[in-house]
Symmetry: C2
Subunit: 111 residues, 2 copies
DNA sequence: TAGTCTTATCGTATATTTGCGATATAAGAT
DNA sequence: ATCTTATATCGCAAATATACGATAAGACTA
């Protein structure tokens, strides 16, 4: 592959791609779903709900946290995670900016 | 890794993850952007606009097509691509279903 | 037919992701 | 102090993704 070319795209393009990448695995979608459904924050309950080892779940949580889609705080001997709604709104907004704004005039697309 | 565990998640979770994965690279975001901006469908003009080799762009186009985010038809000696707005709407709808419906009652999240 | 232009696919090198067990770390309990 | 419990991190193996050059395939042109 020689060199990663990702840096040669715009900041906004990389941003959107990073958000999407954080959601590009069903395990991470499942984690976000659990966090969205519970009012109190979750820790290792997620491990119980997923068909994955504890270390693997921890890794997925770290990726979501690094991407900014969730927040995590230490609560005594356990860890507490929540969805970062603001980040999700930003993602959704950028998506809509990319597509919806241009949609009307493209109705007559050729294929 | 032994075995991919992706199959052990729900169909919906896999669906959303696949959509996200298709958008998880800045080159593919850039391609979608170009397609969204042009009324007539694009072919190798995309190659001119991206800092990537022709074969690499072709590969990215194939991934977007496989994921259903774009459509492609052969037009004489060249290929014509367009955004599949329906697929995008579905993706956006699933995202909103996952998050927005549950957002209000979670305002008092703990972290 | 031969030549050209456009796009897709193959082969390959390298990078990244995914997953797990083992181990570390940190807090609470005995 | 030791044991338990919960979570993070390390190290490794296997799978995927990314990128490119070379080549194939298809359609128009001379």
């Amino acid at each position: 592959m020689a060199i990663h070319k990702k840096e040669e795209f715009t900041h906004k393009e990389q941003d959107l791609a990073n958000f999407a990448k954080a959601m590009s695995h069903p395990a991470r979608i499942a984690i976000l779903k659990v966090l969205a459904q519970r009012n109190e924050c979750i820790c290792g309950e997620i491990v119980e709900l997923l068909p994955l080892a504890q270390s693997t779940v921890s890794q997925h949580l770290k990726e979501l946290k690094t991407a900014g889609l969730i927040t995590g705080t230490i609560d005594g001997p356990r860890s507490c995670y929540c969805i970062n709604w603001k980040a999700f709104e930003k993602f959704n907004g950028e998506l809509n900016f990319l597509f919806n704004a241009l949609k009307v005039k493209n109705e007559k697309a050729c294929c």
